[in-house]
Symmetry: C2
Subunit: 143 residues, 2 copies
DNA sequence: CAGTATCCCCCCTGATACTG
DNA sequence: CAGTATCAGGGGGGATACTG
C-alpha cells in the first residue's frame, strides 16, 4: 500500500513492487541487513517499516536461529496469509501490465515447481465466481 | 497502492480503503459526481485518478447510457479482473485487522446472495496451495 | 454538472552522520 | 551490524476558486 508512482514506460510499479515484496518474503531474508540490501532502502525507513509491521503483527522478532547475536524478522501467520494478495496482484499485473513479449517473472510453487496459475474466488457454497460474478453488494453487520 | 497512513485506533486503512473501492465498483457508480460523493475526494484528485485509470485501461469512458449528456466511467475487463485483488485484501483485513466483535462489512455474491468466503490459490495442476505453500521462488524468463 | 487551475501542506523518502 | 537522529526534497493530496 504505497503511493503509486507515475507509470514509467515498460515498467509497472505494482508488479515490480510486488515482485520485490514477494521476492523478499519468499527467499530467506530475515535479518535487518538482508532486507536492507534487497530492498535498497535507507536504514531509517526500514527501521520504521519493520517496527510498524511488527506492531501490526505481520512480522515477529526472534533471536537469530543460527546462534548469531542478531534478531530475525519472521513472517507470522498473519504475514503469510497475505500471500494471496500478492499473488492476485502479481497475476493481474502480469496479465494486463506487460506485453506478452516482455520479460517478466513468474511464480513457481516451490513444492511441485509448477507455475502458480490461478486465483479463484469461491462462494461459501463452493461455487466458483468469475470476476463478473464478483459484482456484488456490501452489507454491514454487527458482531 | 497508496501511501499507507498511520494506523489509527480501531481503524484499518487497508480495509477501509478497499471497502470504499469495492463499494464504488460494486454499486452503480459511473458518473463523475457519483464518484465524487461516494469517495469524498476532491474534484481535481478524482479527475487525475480517473484519467490515469482510463489511460491504463481500467476504466472506459462512454456516453451516458440513460441518454443524459454526461459521460460514464465503466470498468473494463481489466478493471473487473482486479476484483480478486480487492477480495483477497478485504478477506485479509477482515480476518486480521478487526476484532471479532467489531462491526465490519462482508461481501455477498449478488447472484446467490451468499457470502463470498475464500480466495484460493491453485497450482496449474489444480492443487490447492496453502499460504505456506506459497513460499516460492521467482524465475525470470524471456518472452 | 464536470472538470481545470492554483496554492499549500503534510508526510513519505532518501542521504548522511552518529552510536552501542 | 543494527539501528537512531536529523535535515532536506518532492510528490500526492486537500481546499478553493474559476470555467464551459
Amino acid at each position: 500500500m504505497h503511493a503509486a508512482p507515475q507509470l514509467a514506460p515498460s515498467e509497472c510499479p505494482v508488479a515490480h513492487t510486488l515482485e520485490a515484496i514477494g521476492d523478499r518474503w519468499a527467499e530467506d531474508v530475515r535479518r535487518f541487513s538482508d532486507f536492507l540490501k534487497r530492498l535498497g532502502v535507507a536504514k531509517n525507513i526500514l527501521t520504521v517499516k519493520l517496527k510498524a509491521m511488527v506492531e501490526l503483527g505481520v512480522f515477529e522478532v526472534r533471536p537469530a536461529s543460527n546462534g548469531s547475536a542478531y534478531k530475525e524478522y519472521v513472517l507470522t501467520e498473519m504475514g503469510r496469509a497475505a500471500f494471496p494478495i500478492v499473488i492476485s496482484m502479481r497475476q493481474w499485473g502480469e496479465r494486463f501490465l506487460y506485453g506478452s513479449g516482455e520479460c517478466h517473472s513468474i511464480m513457481l510453487d516451490n513444492v511441485t515447481n509448477e507455475p502458480i496459475e490461478t486465483i479463484i474466488v469461491r462462494s461459501r457454497a463452493g461455487r466458483q465466481l468469475s470476476p463478473e460474478d464478483c459484482h456484488r453488494r456490501l452489507i454491514t453487520r454487527e458482531g
